[in-house]
């Protein structure tokens, strides 16, 4: 598969850096033990591209306002800190070092403690705000994101994106007391008045091959501590921020409506992707309607966070891919939905049509407020008069008057003024101006540098419906050239340069300088900590799997030719021989059956699998799609052996 295919947007093809060739010395992988959260190997080329300045960018991502209105807490993923900004002075008054990749924040009832989720450490830190020190860390699920106060005073909910679940944490005993299932990669959480929790999810639940994706809105009964509803949101992916209407009518989630099942022949008329807000009724068994925030000739890519004004009259959305805060007139939106007594009055057909109507936004989009680079998290001041916007790639907090909808200040958090090559690349990656009518950024299809979990019909090399390719992650691909599933693109410069511009963005793409910057950025994207690779070494099952991976004879004693052993095509450390092979996976829609060998780094993070994404689990690759042992000799394995093999593969 080509980069373009994988990276779907521009970087589609970026899956592997085609580098290799003459790009200087390869950095030694940095292996770091990290306790329970797994070990971390930096297989990127960041050391080749980064300067000392790059370590100083703060990259504010999430915000939280104190109840007394005197402090704004800022989670900075760049420096692993929580910054304290004094209000209304708008100056940084303190910095607290926390765990890796801080994200969600929540204040204790008495306001004396701040809970912070650490995405790379798989725990929640408790900060004593009087001493400004971390006093405890509570292990939770993997990749924790959003936090919310539970029904009980001593109970908080932690959304675990990596394990698709929610941890209920007792803050008195400082331990997790229960785990509830959620959708695929849950992201945000919002509580409504009756104590129920609504969870957004980032990825679609498994769907049939060539069928639309569907996020899940998970509804938890906070009193009973059980999941009450699992509402599907058909046609959606990348649900992130979520907020509850103060008037109790609906919860709103920011998300994308991809068009991945269509041949990627054009951009015009929302042909590639559109962006929307899901208005879901708060009432039990509620229905959901999707309101586009785009316009017929312009798109507002990558909506991230949402926040209601205190009176519920306005809804603020960070359109992070176009550097805009979109302001929604909530009553106007409710009118469009024909809301009555907490119910959406539109019939199902009208709801379906509304989700496609680019003109509808003229009825409810009240304003578009420009921001510095990459607006992400939102927080409303305690008195509701100000909206704070974390501008991640500008190291600034924008302050907006929520009545006048004017920008009244921009708080400089103190990051470097210099824009390094990596910073330039990051901004380009996250800015949709690269695409026609600003319909998509690289981030659109590669949120958090990963994937959207979709299969795209790239439509070239044989025509429409003839080139279905699974999108691939950008994490850790620096040393895994060539790119594209066909392996045709030797390097990232080619892949995310002209090919992506011609096939996806429908513009002229990046210029030479920009192209080098974005390639440097992509080559610097690290793997996340591998939760299956422990610092102490392989588990017994993983060791058994390694034997299967490297075996020379099958269970019947038959010799396995070298070319049909797992280890031959997927050698350490990257899990790819960087060559093309025919593993018998050609389908009727494929033009040929020879594909580039994908790397295996953190492979568990990025389903679906195989070149056309036909498998939602690693098991299916061999139990469903390897009938003739053409993708390695595996059919003699018993269930335990196959499970062990998979457990080993997850350690790459």
């Amino acid at each position: 598969m080509t980069l373009s295919q994988r990276l779907m947007g521009l970087i589609l093809a970026l899956t592997m850096t085609g580098v290799g060739l003459g790009c200087g010395s390869q950095p030694e992988p940095q292996v770091t033990a990290s306790g329970e959260s797994g070990s971390y190997r930096d297989l990127s080329r960041r050391n080749l591209h980064a300067t000392a300045v790059d370590d100083l960018y703060l990259s504010p991502l999430q915000l939280l306002s104190s109840r007394d209105g005197h402090t704004l807490y800022v989670a900075c993923e760049g420096t692993d800190e929580i910054l304290l900004v004094g209000l209304p002075g708008h100056r940084v008054t303190g910095r607290i070092k926390v765990g890796r990749q801080p994200f969600g924040m929540l204040l204790s009832d008495d306001g004396d403690e701040l809970y912070v989720s650490h995405r790379w450490d798989d725990d929640v830190g408790i900060i004593d705000l009087r001493s400004r020190e971390m006093v405890a860390r509570i292990p939770v699920g993997e990749d924790p994101h959003g936090l919310a106060q539970g029904s009980a005073e001593n109970e908080i909910y932690v959304v675990n994106l990596g394990t698709d679940d929610v941890s209920i944490v007792d803050t008195d005993s400082r331990r997790e007391v229960r785990r509830l299932g959620a959708g695929n990669a849950p992201f945000g959480i919002a509580a409504v008045a009756d104590g129920r929790m609504f969870l957004s999810s980032q990825y679609s639940n498994p769907a049939a091959f060539r069928s639309p994706p569907a996020l899940e809105l998970t509804v938890i009964d906070g009193e009973a501590g059980i999941v009450r509803e699992r509402r599907p949101l058909p046609g959606t992916v990348i649900g992130q921020g979520i907020a509850a209407d103060p008037r109790g009518r609906f919860v709103v989630t920011a998300l994308e409506l991809p068009k991945n099942l269509l041949p990627q022949t054009q951009v015009y008329q929302g042909w590639m992707v559109t962006f929307a807000l899901a208005f879901s009724e708060v009432l039990a068994g509620g229905r959901t309607a999707l309101l586009l925030i785009d316009e017929p000739q312009q798109y507002f890519a990558d909506p991230y966070d949402v926040a209601f004004a205190a009176d519920g009259g306005r809804l603020f959305v960070t359109s992070s891919g176009v550097d805009v805060v979109t302001v929604i007139d909530v009553d106007a939106a409710a009118n469009v939905l024909q809301m009555r007594a907490g119910r959406i009055g539109l019939n199902d057909e009208s709801i379906r049509r509304l989700a496609r109507d680019l003109g509808a936004s003229s009825a409810y989009v009240e304003a578009r407020i420009p921001t510095p680079a990459n607006p992400k998290g939102l927080a409303l001041a305690a008195d509701g008069s100000r909206l704070y916007v974390a501008c991640r790639l500008a190291d600034q907090i924008l302050v907006i008057d929520t009545e006048a909808l004017t920008v009244i200040d921009s708080i400089d958090l103190g990051g470097p003024e210099q824009v390094t090559r990596l910073r330039q690349g990051a901004r380009l990656f996250h800015f949709a101006s690269i695409s026609f009518q600003q319909q998509m950024s690289c981030n659109t299809c590669h949120p958090e540098n990963n994937v959207d979990g979709l299969v795209y019909d790239i439509a070239v090399d044989g025509g429409m419906g003839r080139n279905l390719v699974d999108n691939l992650s950008l994490r850790g691909l620096a040393e895994t050239a060539p790119f594209k599933w066909t392996g045709k693109n030797p390097n990232l410069q080619r892949q995310e340069g002209p090919r992506a511009a011609q096939l996806f963005f429908r513009t002229h793409g990046f210029n030479a300088d920009q192209n080098e910057a974005i390639v440097a950025y992509i080559e610097s994207i690290p793997q996340r900590p591998n939760r299956h690779r422990r610092a102490a070494g392989l588990t017994p099952e993983q060791r058994r799997g390694k034997q299967q991976f490297e075996r020379q004879r099958d269970n019947l004693g038959r010799y396995i030719p070298v070319g049909n052993r797992c280890v031959t095509c997927h050698p350490q450390p990257f899990g790819t021989d960087r060559r093309r092979h025919d593993i018998g996976s050609r389908a009727a829609h494929d033009r040929n059956g020879v594909f580039d060998t994908p790397h295996l780094l953190n492979v568990y993070e990025r389903p679906p699998f195989l070149h056309d994404g036909r498998c939602w689990s690693l098991e299916e690759i061999w139990t469903q799609h390897n009938p003739a042992d053409t993708h390695g000799a595996t059919n003699d394995m018993n269930k335990g052996q196959l499970n062990a093999l998979i457990e080993y593969i997850k350690t790459f």
Binding site: G235, Y268, W271, Q298, G497, H508
Partner: protein, 507 residues
Amino acid sequence: MRLGRTSAALGLLLMTLGRLPAAAELEMSLLYVQAPLTTSSGEQIVLRLPGGERRVLTPDFAAAADPCVSFDGQQVLFAGRRRTTDGWEIWRMQADGSNKRQVTVDMADARGPVWLAPAAVNAPNFDDRIEWITFTSTAKGVWDERQRAPLANLYAMSLAPVGERPFVLWQTTYGLGGDRTPTVLADGRVLFASWQRQGYGLMTISWAGENLNPFYGSHDGLLSQLSPVELPAPSRDIIFVEATGDAETEGGRLAAVSMRRPLHSWRLLADDGAYRTPAALPEGGLVVAWRGSDTSSFGLYEFDLRAGRGTVVVDDPAWHEFQPVPLVPRSTPRGRIPTVDFASVLDVEGFKQAGQLQCLNVYESDRAERSGILAGSIRRVRLVEGVPLPILNPADSVALPESTADLLWPPAHVQTRSLGEAPVEADGSFYVNVAGDRPFYLETLDENGGVLGAMRSWMWVRAGDQRGCVGCHENKELTPENRVTEALRRARPMSLVGDVLPAEEAP
């Protein structure tokens, strides 16, 4: 338009001194065209400097018009002819009128040149961006569908070699009604006026001719919209002239649509007198040609969009002044790598001459809904090619009454032939390979081959391009459904690229 305090009369007085007044404080140089009142030719391009001094830049031409300033403000494209018997060709010169060079050769009448964004077509790296222009031309030597005038279509041309070719010249529109007054939008698309049965409507294409789409204007309306111009950001409003007659030469009312929602934001700016050829000023204002009555001459006025009033810039009663162009640098529009010709994305033998077309759902159509076509009733679709008539004698131009000539479909002065038929699946989808760069319309057929509906306009697919349609005359604000069509599940398009049937009237 209400006039400001500085009147046209003042302009007349000062003009006799060889200078025109800077009545409106236009602190920039301006190009415009002046034409005699009494003849249909003899246009000249004039440079007006800040303060009012003016100079004819094209004294060595029998006629010159349609100036377009390059993005750096240094060069000017224009249409000109050395002798009155020559056809119009495209020329370029420095902004001071020096170094004139002919750009096109033997393009019959080439008019309306527009600078396009620099673009590369050198696959696979696409790293050699060169200058391109677009213009209209009657080079094909055929009649338009009304046989009233030679058919004018849009062309794109490189101003530098491409590989071993000294230049590339592409025809980019293939409609048979005629195209006029192109302009380039900030997003890189070409916005132009295209004849749609009874009037000119505004359409967009990519600079290389991909993605034909309506922008504003109805296939059914008698009103024409011409001479569109986009105001700079943040406004991005599109200003144009609207009239039932020839709005380009006779003028019409001034109207606008918002780029935010062009199909539903029409508003009247002014309808007193007659306006023509608006141009955007760098700070968002407008300069436009205007006259108060049919008997007066067109002059140039700076138009206050908020107040709806104009202030004279140039108005010489002995001349028509029109086609104003500020001689200033401006933003370069978005470039785009094309998908056609040698940059084709269709890596399949034979597709250099063919394109692909998929329609997601023929029932997604306001026409089908209005005519009560039931889901499942459309079994096939027929592609009917339009073949224009050659111009054997320019005097053969005909002028049938509007009411009869323009309501006929297919038009009376176009031959048609079937390119073939393709099955329509139960979900309303079809998928064809189609001969590229040919105008055609679609007919939907029932199980007996009866025609249920037919397009009333021309479409095409550029050779080497792929095109998707949401529906047939659907609401253009609707995005496509995200689903795999039944036609696509077959993964093999119906091929309509073989030998076409002999030319004949369509059934």
